[in-house]
């Protein structure tokens, strides 16, 4: 079976530097890929290209076989994307916002209501359903962004720091949610919380200075007797020293 996410030699150059350099990987159904790296390593840029927001300088990205540049609408239909910082329209209510994204995705009438209600149930937003998003705390805002990504039950989920700003209980809930959904989906999450990788990911990619330095299961990374943090530090810091 073809992988749901296929990234081939993806490259993004900005004037003067290369943010993402020749990155290739695939994610199959049932995999949860943890995308790790120091700030500025190219995690968000890669995710933006995968989501079809940023055009790549070179290389291709496909979601369920649809190229994100040539068939953007088909690719985005199968994608749930949580952008960095979980942006939402602050003046809208939670239900209003979710219904908006649902309508764009083609849901109508009672199906739309069901989808919105289900997404709020998954992310525990029922208590604030009619509140304007700007009045919500950071954790709630993040979950509104997450609800929007889950609303249409997409086969591919790309989540940029899904647990950032959540308290420990909420983090636990979101990880549980990801674990429950994992068997049916291909999921990519970026994070710089290393214990999260061990908790939910079946595979980890460490990216530094735009390049993939490791692609392995978290358990394999820890086999050498070192903690994931030591592995991360030696790989990402080593690269910097090399360049200096």
């Amino acid at each position: 079976m073809a992988a749901l996410i296929e990234i081939e030699r993806l490259t993004k150059r900005f004037s003067g530097f290369t943010a993402v350099d020749d990155v290739s990987f695939t994610v199959a159904r049932g995999e949860v890929l943890g995308f790790l790296g120091p700030n500025g390593a190219g995690k968000s840029t890669t995710m933006r290209m995968l989501a079809g927001f940023m055009p790549p300088s070179a290389g291709t990205a496909r979601i369920c076989g649809a190229d994100v540049v040539d068939q953007p609408v088909a690719a985005k239909r199968n994608l749930g994307f949580l952008p960095e910082g979980a942006p939402t329209y602050p003046e809208m209510s939670v239900t209003g916002f979710l219904a908006f994204t649902g309508r764009i995705r083609g849901f109508r009438g009672s199906e739309l209501d069901d989808r919105v209600a289900h997404a709020m149930l998954l992310t525990q937003l029922e208590g604030v359903r009619l509140q304007p998003i700007e009045t919500l705390s950071k954790g709630f805002k993040r979950r509104v962004g997450l609800a929007q990504a889950l609303l249409h039950d997409p086969p591919v989920l790309v989540l940029d720091e899904p647990t950032d700003g959540l308290d420990p209980n909420q983090k636990h809930e979101v990880r549980e949610l990801i674990r429950r959904m994992a068997p049916e989906k291909a999921i990519v999450i970026s994070t710089h919380i290393l214990e999260e990788v061990g908790a939910v990911c079946s595979r980890a990619i460490i990216i530094a200075r735009g390049r993939i330095v490791v692609d392995a299961a978290p358990t394999v990374l820890e086999e050498s007797g070192r903690s994931l943090e030591e592995v991360f530090r030696s790989l990402t810091l080593g690269n910097h020293e090399e360049a200096a």
Partner: protein, 243 residues
């Protein structure tokens, strides 16, 4: 419903959920009324028509419409929602069209709220309501032209002040292109350009509408003007969205 209309609906309710709508409408109505009755000499002319009102509209919109368009894409950028909107499964031009339609409908609402002027002339005399209707259609056309131009500029810059100033300046060029000062200057020096200036003048085209003449050529002018700048908007957005 087409995705553009879903976007437009969200945008329009966004205007009314923030002070933008109320400030814009109140200032527009106050200025339109004040200019009509003072500079426009509404009562002193002794004629039951809305010519004094219409004559100020292109100049009033010159400042107010860029105030609407400057935030169109800049606000999405500031909030980061541009990344959300453009990763939803809708063609990018539908997002561009949706935002434009919402702003246009909003201008339509502001124009409709000048209805007391229309009632006043009908109470005081017997105006030609067909001419008045055609004048309102002209106002909408001018608003649409400025909106499309301003929206395209807004897609190109993150900075709202830059977007506002550039939009005012460019709208002014199209508003003033047909004015005697410009055309007489060009007539004596570069006659070919004078023709072009007259042909591109938003204010000249608008003049026809206020006299009750809705010509196919003028409609075509405004339609292609709006279409062209919406196209520019989509192209610019595609190149600058991630900056």
């Amino acid at each position: 419903m087409a995705p553009a209309l879903i976007v437009a609906r969200r945008e329009l309710s966004g205007y009314f959920a923030t002070p933008v709508a109320y400030v814009f409408i109140v200032i527009f109505l106050v200025l339109a009324g004040a200019l009509t009755f003072t500079l426009g000499n509404f009562f002193g002319r002794g004629q039951a028509d809305l010519i004094p009102f219409f004559s100020f509209i292109p100049w009033l919109f010159l400042f107010l419409v860029p105030a609407l368009t400057m935030r169109l894409w800049a606000e999405e950028r500031r909030l980061g929602t541009i990344e959300l909107l453009l990763t939803l499964p809708l063609p990018q031009w539908q997002a561009v069209l949706g935002k434009f339609l919402a702003a246009w409908a909003f201008c339509g609402i502001a124009l409709a709220l000048t209805f007391p002027l229309w009632i006043t002339v009908n109470v005081l005399g017997t105006p030609d309501n067909g001419v008045i209707l055609s004048g309102y259609v002209g106002c909408l056309m001018v608003a649409g032209a400025y909106l499309a131009l301003g929206a395209a500029i807004s897609a190109g810059t993150k900075n709202q002040v830059v977007a506002f100033v550039l939009a005012v300046a460019l709208c002014f060029v199209f508003a003033a292109a047909g004015s005697p000062v410009v055309t007489e200057f060009l007539d004596t020096r570069i006659p070919q350009l004078a023709e072009l200036a007259r042909a591109l003048s938003v204010a000249d085209r608008f003049g026809g509408f206020t006299r009750g003449v809705i010509s196919a050529r003028d409609i075509l002018f405004f339609a292609s003007f709006i279409g062209f700048f919406l196209f520019v908007n989509a192209v610019v957005l595609d190149h600058r969205k991630a900056d």
